[in-house]
Symmetry: C2
Subunit: 423 residues, 2 copies
């Protein structure tokens, strides 16, 4: 059967499993646990009830056998056979089990099943949702088109940077740094995820100081940098902070997804009149074991639906543990349509150790310059200052889009030429 | 230094790490990444700024060396030495870096660090918070005392069960099941985490049907079963559902923590006038790799602070992958004081394959009957019906509290005697 097509009446999820059980039996146990089944058969579990409520195993593909168990605690089948098998399993649920609810979707597709006894590995790798979800949730209200409109950047990535040091600057010091970055022609600035509303750098003071810099530069040159202000907090705080940013002429807000959680993110998504820059700090705990947790394509779909416009995907040749192929898969997944009629594409945000060096590879991986690059040292550590740092990044992307080698392009692009000496 | 005492001005967190780097160097990298440090030194990172904002390594204890790397992607030190070391590290942060904010606490203590290059394993094992957090968050408003007051159960655990099949029953069918459970003298009933407000079993219809049964039984006998209605959803839905349960005379609400997330849970905690039964479905993804993610004691502290009255801890001899020693450590941690002046103890909820057989072991492990046991088949599959199932569970706990062997106690307790034949 074709599992890539969205079934209007059922939710589908794909898992990577590792089990010593017969994989089909193991898949049936998952389906039972996550719908109308129980450990012990109960009187109410009638054939009629099963027919309307049971999750189904839609597909099963065995990959390999004979590996050591990845996670501790799993059980063996009655045969005692310890041979582990890895397989990809697709389950489906009737939408009427839970209704069109993102929080309850999480409980259904990513609930108790991670701890089920037959599994020495279980990872959610993808999810497909009926169109009813597209009607019920806001999705990205801005995406790349709205982000380009608000930032005035066309035909190339937004070149961004992060306020550094991450934490420790006062609101006034942050404002002074914004003056410098704006004067350098930066497209995009983001708060660090460690700085939201610390008493040493209160949110409103910081927004006021930074937006003074941004607005003055915009008045002078017509170019208004987009600043993702980190409003991570309680629901009412986030709504209030969003409104404050809007009132100050700001054009973006940022929230840390794992810190806020789904119900908080939905509330922000419904409320927001600005692009939401979604930070993924803490995501590593959910994904770093390749046989546990969530894949990024599955996880990010839920946040896109809730309203994330920009989603962090790490970066090529990054300073973290993630391999480039994973970064590329993440970035590409954000631009694949979530629903036929509403693609709900999010803008991939590349960060971590980004410089002029990754432009060509990133363009090749994503296939488009519709993205945000945030470089810390890659912009501000340029020997000739921030303006040259921004210029060099733009040059590197121009070169990539024209298919010209960096060294060649640098011959008549001095900012890029200087950048090549240090990055 | 003493790391167990709460420093009024700093947040402390303990981690289990695995690294090929010198462990102290690795710990310093964690501290830098999660405070004012960056991959590349930046001009603003002055000694004064570091003094007020840098996270500190407070303690380091090396456990063992020479294991294979647990997680992929980690890097090696410049020496190229591949020898891995496991250690326990304590970091601390000035409270002024983030302020008294649970969402931002998550970004600080459990943010980007899981993906840091030097680590082939990194797990948050405990956290200690300044008293300012106790003043800022509600904590459990009911705990064991309020739960006993509302349920009328004293001197023994609340004996509970779960609506099964998990999903598939209509509101009316759920009400009919509640009639049977209440007639059997059950103390506690919970919705399954898969059933919140599905169109086949709408929340308000279900609450009305179940509370009719509960209120009628209470009018008849004076005993009012506590029902944890699963209100998992968006913030406004949860508040509205809470108010509906309260208006119907209900005495408990339930939310799935990983589905709702922290900002949603705080909103519910601040709003609630009923005990909050906190379900942990999805928790396995965060904990099942012993070298990644979160330990339960660290994780549950944050939810207790946000307002969780009852916290699931799995059960002894459970049907999932968790070992008994982990279950016991989880349950005990919930009753340890969170703050000197406000202990914010939560009630441990034991579930999964629970029967008369686990009473003595559970009592021994927790040291008190201040807990909830939810048994599915362990109550409703009793050969003489639900009433005998509840009676047998109470008998088993009486026997445990009196230090009498189950078989001995069963001699003049017929419900327990029958139960012994099937469990």
């Amino acid at each position: 059967m074709n599992t890539s097509k969205i079934n209007p009446a059922r939710i589908e999820a794909d898992y990577l499993i590792e089990t010593a059980f017969d994989p089909m039996e193991a898949a049936q146990i998952m389906a039972g646990e996550q719908s109308s089944g129980t450990f012990l058969a109960v009187p109410g579990e009638t054939p009629e009830l099963k027919a309307r409520s049971a999750a189904r195993v839609e597909a099963l593909e065995v990959f390999e056998t004979g590996m050591e168990p990845t996670l501790p605690g799993s059980g063996l089948p009655e045969t005692g056979d310890e041979t582990r098998t890895r397989a990809r399993v697709t389950l489906s649920w009737p939408i009427d089990n839970l209704g069109v609810s993102l929080p309850n979707l999480i409980a259904t597709i990513a609930g108790n099943l991670f701890e089920l006894k037959p599994f020495s590995g279980l990872r959610l790798v993808d999810v497909r949702l009926p169109n009813a979800f597209a009607d019920a949730y806001p999705g990205p209200k801005f995406g790349i088109a709205g982000t380009r409109r608000l930032s005035g950047v066309e035909g190339r990535p937004l070149i961004g940077t992060i306020i550094k040091p991450s934490v420790g600057l006062s609101a006034q010091e942050t404002g002074a740094l914004a003056v410098e970055l704006c004067a350098g022609g930066i497209d995009f600035i983001k708060d660090d995820e460690l700085q939201a509303d610390g008493p040493a750098c209160p949110f409103e003071d910081r927004v006021r100081a930074v937006m003074d810099a941004v607005n003055q530069q915009a008045d002078k040159t017509g170019k208004k940098a987009m600043v993702a202000f980190n409003l991570t907090g309680e629901i009412d705080e986030m709504r209030r902070r969003h409104d404050f940013v809007l009132a100050q002429g700001g054009t973006c807000v940022m929230a840390s997804l794992t810190a806020v959680g789904m119900s908080g993110m939905i509330a922000l998504g419904r409320h927001s009149e600005l692009p939401i820059h979604a930070h993924r700090c803490g995501w590593g705990a959910l994904t770093r074991d390749p046989m546990l947790g969530w894949s990024y394509p599955a996880w990010s779909k839920l946040w896109r639906l809730a309203g994330a416009d920009h989603m962090h995907v790490n970066g090529l040749d990054n300073k973290f543990t993630e391999a480039d192929d994973s970064v590329i898969a993440s970035a590409r997944s954000l631009t694949e349509p979530l629903f036929d009629k509403q693609p709900m594409r999010a803008v991939p945000v590349f960060s971590s150790g980004q410089t002029i060096r990754q432009a060509a590879g990133t363009l090749k991986a994503v296939g488009s310059p519709d993205l945000i690059v945030t470089a810390g040292g890659g912009v501000v550590a340029h020997p000739d200052g921030v303006a040259s740092g921004v210029r060099a990044m733009c040059d590197a992307w121009d070169a990539a889009m024209q298919g010209i080698d960096l060294a060649e392009y640098a011959k008549d692009h001095p900012a890029l030429s200087s950048a090549l000496t240090i990055y």
